[in-house]
Each structure stands twice: as C-alpha cells, then as structure tokens.
C-alpha cells in the first residue's frame, strides 16, 4: 500500500472517530492529529479504527506519540511493511 492509499484510508478512519468538524479534503501530511479532533483519550478510538481498518496489530502506545498525519502515515507504512 502506497502513501496516498494509506492517507485516504486513514482519513476514512479519522472521519469515523473525530468529534469535530473537519474539512477532510484539506487534510495534509502536515495536519496535526490534535487539529483533527483527537486528544489523549479520543486517540484510543482512532487506534481501534486503525487497527481494524488496516488489520495490523502494533504497540499502540507508539501511535499516541505521533503528532501529524504524515508521521502517522510513516508509522503505519513501517508496520504494514514489517
């Protein structure tokens, strides 16, 4: 799965768990996870969705420290390739 595909799939996951209004078309790799409506607790919903959608298991605490969409994509790409 390439970067663009991961971003699109990730947006899908985020749409399902974000509780704020977001213009998803304008979301880029530089967008922060926080600006998309995720805090230290609601990130758990996103982790669940990501695990299910990408069918990957990973040490979830590593994802909590990820701050931007771009770094989250890199993180997932690494997990999908391993």
């Amino acid at each position: 799965m390439n970067k663009e595909e991961i971003i699109e799939k990730l947006k899908e996951a985020m749409k399902g768990s974000s509780e704020v209004q977001v213009d998803w078309d304008s979301v880029s790799e530089e967008s922060t996870i926080e600006s998309l409506g995720f805090d230290s607790l609601s990130i758990l919903d996103l982790i669940y969705d990501v695990q299910q959608l990408f069918d990957v298991e990973f040490e979830a605490e590593a994802m909590v420290g990820v701050s931007t969409v771009g770094s989250l994509v890199d993180f997932l790409q690494g997990k999908l390739q391993s």
Partner: protein, 282 residues
C-alpha cells in the same frame, strides 16, 4: 488546614469511635442536605431495587453512612493492612482464573468497578498482588486534592486524577503488566455512550472498551464490600475477553452493557454500599 486537622484527629481516634462519629455526621448530612438526599432517593427509585418508600429511605440513609465510614476506612486502612497480613484479614471471592492473571508477571489487567463497597481499600489490597494505577475523581479544592493524593499514593498504587487522563499512559500501564483500575459508573458528559443502567440510559465512559480491544488486556469486574469493622470481602468475576468485530460502537456497547450488568447485580446484593447520591443519570 481544616482537612489536615480533620485527618490528624481521625488518625488518633480509635476505629470504632471514628466509625460511630462518621455515621452520626452522615445522618446529620442526610437530614440537612435535602438536595443530595433527594438525588439518592430518586436514583434508588429509578433503579427499582426498593420495594417501598420506607425501604428507599433506609437504603439512602445507609448509603450515606456507608460513604462516611468509607472515608474513615480509607484514612486508616494503612494501619490495618500491609502486604504481609492482608490475606488473613480479607475474604477473597475471586475465581482461580482471575487470581492466576493477578499473579502472572507482565499481565496487564483492566479492573473495572463502580462506587460500590470500598473502592479505595480495594485498590490498596489489589496493589499487594500487582502494581495498580487507579483513576480518581478530583476534589473541588486543589489543595485538598493534592493532600489526599499524596496521602493515599502508596508504593505500588498510583493515583491519576481523571482530568489528567491520558490514553498513552494507560496503554503503558497495561503493557507493563500492571492493573488499570477504573470506576465506570461516573457520568461521562459528552465523552461517553448511552448504555442502560438499571434500565435507564446513562452516559458511560468508553475508554475501558477501547483499551481492552487495543491491548487485549482482559477485563475483570471487581469490588470490595464491607463485612464488618475494617473487614472486607473482595469479589471479582472471571476475566472477560471480547472479540472486536470492526464495528467500534457495537463492540464498545457489548463491553459496557456487560460491565453495567455486573455492577447492577453487585448493587442488588449490597444496595446499602452503593453511592446513590452521585448523579449517574443526568
């Protein structure tokens, strides 16, 4: 300052005197605080556990007394229990499977409870088996809050105020093989899911379900009821494991409904030991 003095007085009072005094104050509080008493009565009626108004009032009054004694027990429990003697003083009603998990090094556990029995003593006792992080509700006064947090934190028991809730930290606790203890009957405001509690929908925190699915840490419902003066029975369920289906809402609901059912059953058994005066349904 007042709290510090009160704690010092309770420290030196014999247990039976302190308990009696606490019950006396609870009766006065119950009489004078009409609003809070009404919350308890309304909640008991809503739950349908009392047969008539007399029983409702009795449960409400006993619940206030219970909570007052709980405070005394929580202040004094350090003097009564330590990691050497606690097993002789506490009756354990815990399935073998759960006990094995508690003894297994590296095994994280989600211990879910409610405002039933003495949850503070429960966390203390549990910490003799495994390190515990317990999530607590803040006191309104920050000075009092710090004093209580400092006083109650123990070698293997960490208290985390609810306002500092941090998913990453919780994940680490479970990954490190510790117990994450939560009271899941607190009103969740806009962060929860409406789940039936005694037949009425109540906003319920969802974090426990997410933590379970993400980490695969088993969930145990447990509580510690008072059986006498500074005497307790620790009860817990078998470990619960739910399989994620990919439908987050449905999966979360399955976990929370199951936990609410466990809590309801426990409350039916010990209605006087439940904190009815907190606003579970808003």
């Amino acid at each position: 300052m007042l709290l510090r003095i009160a704690l010092a007085i309770v420290d030196v009072m014999p247990l039976s005197v302190a308990e009696g005094f606490a019950r006396f104050l609870a009766d006065i509080y119950c009489e004078l605080n009409v609003k809070r008493r009404q919350v308890a009565i309304d909640n008991i009626k809503r739950s349908g556990i009392a047969e008539d108004d007399d029983e409702t009032r009795r449960i409400a009054r006993d619940s206030f007394r219970h909570f007052a004694v709980l405070i005394i027990e929580s202040i004094k429990s350090d003097r009564f229990f330590d990691k050497e003697n606690w097993r002789d003083k506490v009756e354990m009603d815990i399935p073998e499977e759960t006990m094995e998990l508690l003894k297994k090094p590296g095994q994280g556990i989600l211990l879910v409870s409610g405002h039933l029995g003495n949850w503070e003593v429960a966390a203390q006792l549990l910490s003799y088996l495994k390190p515990v992080m317990a999530i607590t509700r803040d006191m309104n006064n920050p000075y009092s809050n710090n004093l209580i947090l400092k006083r109650k934190s123990r070698e293997r028991l960490t208290l985390t105020p609810k306002h500092s809730a941090d998913g990453g930290r919780f994940l680490n606790v479970l990954r490190n093989g510790e117990v994450l203890a939560l009271l899941n009957d607190q009103y969740a405001r806009d962060r929860g899911m409406k789940v039936d509690f005694f037949g009425s929908p109540a906003e319920t925190h969802t974090a426990v379900a997410m933590l379970h699915f993400i980490t695969k840490a088993p969930i145990c419902f447990g509580y510690c009821v008072r059986t006498g003066s500074m005497s307790f029975k620790f009860k817990a369920t078998k470990p619960m494991v739910f399989k994620p289906t990919g439908d987050r809402n449905a999966d979360t609901r399955a976990v929370l409904e199951s936990l609410n059912r466990e809590l309801e059953a426990a409350i039916r058994e010990y209605p006087e030991q439940y904190l009815w005066a907190h606003r579970r349904w808003k």
